[in-house]
Subunit: 257 residues, 2 copies
């Protein structure tokens, strides 16, 4: 049984304000909850019968049960509590990992991803997942970027937000840290140098702007080195996830030459 206080907590965690107040967030779906369980502190789990629909969900429910974390509710109740469309019969309340720029000790050849006003949780998650897969060291979420701990952001990152440090920082702090640690900042821009000619040597950071408006004035004023993916056909541009994926691949691959 879920207590009234627990229900109120879950509802509060749907909002950014509630997440900040409680230092907790919601993780939903079998794969994401598996990662949350492996990586962090959980307060409790809410499950409904459909989690047992497949073996992987059943095993997860059994493990949550073994740890004494489970509150059982009906399918309808779980779907009402969830912040994503398909919670797959499971959600957990977890402690929000807090990472600060100051604790990030830069290493030789480190690559970073900065998100400058990326607003769609699906794009956010795709980029964090790609950064994790390709070997980026950390993600810095600048102001105007969707909350990394929004249930939809968490879901679309498929667990990557739990093991890759996601650091929230303002532009002056991020710029100061990058400068002090010798990072070169790159940004995709059609007028930049063709990316095939760029080596991304040493410590390098890629900044990705808002889906519609591109980079903020604050980031533009840092004069990032611009790099272009040549458009050889008739399409005006690439989808933001595809463009950033290509740049992230080149950023991380060339340093392993």
């Amino acid at each position: 049984m879920l207590s009234r206080a627990e229900e109120r907590l879950i509802n509060a965690l749907q909002q950014r304000k509630g997440r900040a107040e409680h230092g907790r967030f919601l993780a939903e779906g079998v794969r994401v909850v598996e990662e949350a369980l492996a990586s962090g502190d959980l307060d409790f789990a809410v499950i409904s019968p459909s989690v047992e629909d497949n073996a992987r969900g059943g095993a997860l429910a059994a493990e949550l049960e073994r740890r004494g974390l489970v509150r059982r509710v009906s399918e309808v109740e779980l779907n009402k509590l969830a912040g994503t469309d398909t919670p797959q019969g499971v959600l957990v309340v977890a402690h929000t990992p807090v990472h600060e720029l100051e604790e990030l000790k830069a290493r030789d050849g480190d690559k970073l991803l900065l998100l400058d006003g990326v607003q769609d949780p699906g794009n956010f998650g795709t980029l964090v997942r790609a950064a994790d897969a390709l070997g980026v060291r950390a993600v810095i979420a600048l102001p105007g970027t969707v909350d990394p701990w929004n249930p939809k952001s968490v879901r679309s990152a498929a667990g990557s937000t739990f093991h890759l440090p996601v650091i929230q920082a303002d532009v002056p702090s991020a710029a100061a840290w990058l400068g002090a640690n010798g990072f070169t900042l790159y940004a995709g821009d059609a007028r930049g140098a063709a990316v095939r000619d760029v080596t991304f040597a040493g410590r390098a950071a890629l900044v990705v702007g808002n889906e519609g408006a591109g980079l903020s004035d604050a980031v533009r004023s840092l004069n990032p080195t611009t790099v272009a993916i040549p458009m050889r056909g008739r399409a005006e541009s690439l989808n933001v996830g595809v463009a950033a994926g290509i740049l992230l691949y080149l950023l991380t691959e060339r340093s392993h030459g």
Copy 2:
């Protein structure tokens, strides 16, 4: 005014069967309709007041009007007729472009994209748009792939389906054509050769499988050359659009060395 026959036609075009019977499809949204107008034959356009909400939409409406194509309806009616969530006040009924493998004359260094059961219209459109932007010659949609002329596929391709040939073919026909024209077939696979070591020289085709199940047995039996994007972090995999985008970039870029 929209006639009853026109309304019935639009409703029929929401279904694959209706599109096949009538040889027509629906294009929705300002940018996509601009491209449809520039590239193909239109039967008529349906517009509602919100198309005039911005200058670009207003100019498009004026041009459609000049050509005598416009049927005016209310906002509510247009949204009811549309097959996407945000038609932006405009949809058109257009002739479906039909491309056949036989009419595609292969040229030196041609790059192709094959879609083997890509089912999500958003992924389909993202990939067609990326193929267009990066200079791929044509897209071959194999069985099990979402209908290229589904309103959501058309919308997410942002006009690229109108200028890049999208050819529907079965696996034996596609394999025979690729073989006769000297194409090497590549597929992304974690057990393949690291993609950094692959040159994609000459005529080359990349095949992308279903979002969950990967390549079909029919395509696997063609023994494509497998290439891997190294996973350096903890994420198990990349989103299908990001992975295919990276491979498409490398496929098209290396031939321009």
